[in-house]
Amino acid sequence: MFEIIDKQRLAAGVFRYVVQAPEIAKKAKAGQFVILRLNEHGERFPITIADWDSGQGTLTLFVQAIGKTSIEMSLLHGGDSILDLVGPLGLATEIENFGTVALVGGGFGIAAIHPIARELTQAGNKTISIMGSRNRDLLLMQDEMKKVSSEVRVATDDGSLGTEGLVTDVLNDMIDKGEIIDRVIAIGPLVMMKAVSELTRPLKIQTRVSLNPIMVDGTGMCGACRVTVGSEMKFACVDGPEFDGHRVDFDGLINRLKTYRPEEKKSLDQFSQVVDDECRLGNL
């Protein structure tokens, strides 16, 4: 069992958890993930390691409550426990002094970008973090990102903060104005990562994206997490989750992520019913 030490609500449906997991915390690196299973009936659910503290023996995880498991997790509080937690999984982000690195984080992806920005800044890079969200209320971790980046730019769909538009507009604008960018790391919705990769491809800027395919074991046994990179089949849990954005077949992955849409809905509907009943009974 892994105890939840702290839980905070950051925005509508977005929570930050600090979980006791000393052995994983000792080994965690930026770019890696864990798989958790909440209880005996639970699914194996991959989550990016957003931060870690080897001294305290804790991991920080962000959860966006959108499906059955994430909503169920959003009902857990400090003092509750998670049944299974395994990691750190996947390969760590490559950290070197590349020169100038643009870190593009969309929505919830900002949580995953944060430790990478910190490590790259520490390694001597000029780090320009470009954060995007639908509106200012949904923008995560502004202050934290400012602390770990050389510069921060913001784009919101409605213009309520920063540039009105998309993160790619900001990136494009920067490049137009003559900023020499040596590497781009983009984490967020697949369409965003795809758009960033399309933008940087003709400019030949090395672009890394972090993929979130369906996973079961997360240890390289089941093959569910396969993605096409170049013309090769790769497995995100052992070969990734980061890949060369210019070679990833995003459309194939977008399609595969639809596999369980009907089942996810069914699971959620049934769960909502339970939650409603519990609320009515005053148990929640």
Binding site: T219, M221, G223, E263, S267
Partner: protein, 469 residues
């Protein structure tokens, strides 16, 4: 019981659930012998002076001796006799390919049917468990040595049991949230009830073995860290086989295409057949094509058949029935349950619409000369392409190796396919000091009993090694 009389008794059939009753049930297909049936079958054994069957068994179970005890009604003694060399008889009795091993060499098989060695083994082991007569063996006094076992499949579990008996402190590290390896996530409930695997795990715990789940070694700890920081005197790597092979044909990323490992893991380990009570889903399919001819293909196909939405399951195999590597009993059961077997057909493309599978384009094959595996090589027949309708495809072509340990251990030698190389096969020793390895991670996908055999040899090798340090 005289030998001549024995010959006249036919091989005793095993009571089973009817094909109809079991086609949508995950309960075990075979009920196993009753004591009377087992005793009768046991009297068929000729008690050969030089038993050939024993040579056919990878771990040389004392076959005539245990069968004699069954014939005498001494079932618990029979189980203990088997356990002298085979620590998981309830498992092997159910999953060994007996027709290629012990029973293949039984002299009765020359003219008639061989003694049902596997069924008798299963019977004795089940009897001992059901009667609650499983006893913890006497453990040697503590040696003060600590051994780490990586991976809780048959190889690891066997080594753990033997090492604990020798007085060592044993800790098993397992990557998944549940120990058992393929016995748990791969082989389905209807063939190997999970209670049996759980009973074996309980037995190891009673012997003092500690099982730590959710530990991916290579990630959370390296082999070197185990031996330096954590004080382990030796390590046994038994991580099994790894990433499944795919066909390498167009359409494999369509929705509705699964590896057999994924399909079986969803059902066995994650209970997808009880969705939405359990959270892990499996999409509801109607017509499922399973590609391959081994045990994994048969397990996936028969699992698919049992899912509520399934109407039809086909096994598509590119060779002929003679080359199929699945156990005979599974093929027979699959046929009875209504699997459609399609031989000498090979998929060349998976067809789809709107991102989902709609069928498989196959090519007809003919058999040519034997290839490197000794089996006749299938040769495509030009112009014979045709389409099979299916809304799901399960690929069961075997698997490669898991890269995690080798990736993170520089001085551990592997071959070109990533399998761990042994420097002394008699004791399962690797190129790295203090590190031993066995099971599928060394041989590539093989059998439960060969993995157990490797675990046994490793335990002796490790014992000698740590005691000489």
């Amino acid at each position: 019981m005289s030998a001549s009389k024995g010959k006249k008794i036919p091989r005793q059939p095993v009571p089973e659930q009817s094909a109809k009753a079991r086609s949508k049930s995950f309960d075990e297909v075979s009920y196993g012998y009753t004591p009377t049936m087992a005793m009768l079958e046991a009297t068929r054994c000729l008690q050969c002076k030089k038993p050939k069957c024993v040579m056919g068994c990878p771990v040389h179970v004392a076959i005539p001796e245990f069968i004699k005890l069954v014939a005498a009604g001494e079932f618990i003694a029979a189980a203990r006799k088997i356990k002298e060399t085979n620590s998981l008889p309830a498992v092997t009795g159910r999953v060994c390919p007996q027709e290629d091993q012990c029973e293949k060499y039984c002299v009765l098989g020359l003219k008639n049917e061989p003694v049902a060695i596997g069924q008798l083994e299963r019977f004795a082991a089940d009897y001992e468990r059901r009667e609650g007569k499983i006893e913890i063996p006497e453990l040697a006094p503590s040696t003060g040595k600590k051994i780490a076992i990586i991976g809780a499949g048959p190889a690891g579990l066997t080594a753990a049991g033997d090492l604990a008996k020798l007085g060592h402190e044993v800790v098993i590290f397992e990557a998944l949230h549940k120990a058992g390896g393929v016995l748990f996530y791969g082989i389905p409930q209807f063939r190997l009830p999970k209670e049996i695997v759980d009973a074996e795990l309980e037995y190891l715990k009673l012997m003092g073995v500690e099982i730590k789940v959710n530990y991916v070694i290579g990630k959370i700890k390296s082999l070197d860290e185990l031996m330096t920081d954590e004080g382990f005197d030796a390590v046994f790597v038994s991580t099994g086989s790894g990433l499944p092979y795919f066909l390498g044909i167009p359409g494999e990323n369509l929705n509705g295409v699964y590896s057999a490992n994924e399909f079986l893991t969803r059902v066995n380990l994650m209970h997808a057949w009880e969705f939405p009570v359990f959270d892990t889903p499996l999409h509801a399919h109607k017509t499922i094509a399973v590609i391959g001819g081994g045990n994994t293909a048969l397990d996936a196909a028969r699992t698919a058949l049992r899912l509520p939405s399934t109407e039809k399951v086909m096994i598509v195999y590119r060779r002929s029935p003679d080359e199929m590597s699945a156990r005979d009993e599974e093929i027979k059961h699959g046929k009875e349950e209504g699997l459609e077997f399609r031989y000498l057909e090979n998929p060349v493309r998976i067809l789809g619409a709107d991102g989902w599978v709609t069928g498989v384009e196959c090519q007809k094959m003919k058999l040519g000369e034997p290839d490197s595996s000794g089996r006749k090589k299938p040769i495509p027949i030009e112009g014979s392409e045709f389409e099979l309708e299916a809304d799901a495809v399960v690929i069961a072509l075997g698997s490669g190796t898991n890269p995690l340990i080798a990736q993170n251990t520089e001085d551990l030698k592997t071959d070109s396919r990533g399998r761990i190389k042994l420097s002394d096969a008699d004791i399962q020793k690797t190129s790295k000091k203090g590190v031993f390895a066995g099971g599928d991670i060394v041989t590539g996908a093989a059998t439960v009993i060969s993995a157990m055999g490797a675990g046994k040899k490793a335990a002796l090798g490790i014992h000698d090694y740590v005691m000489s340090q």
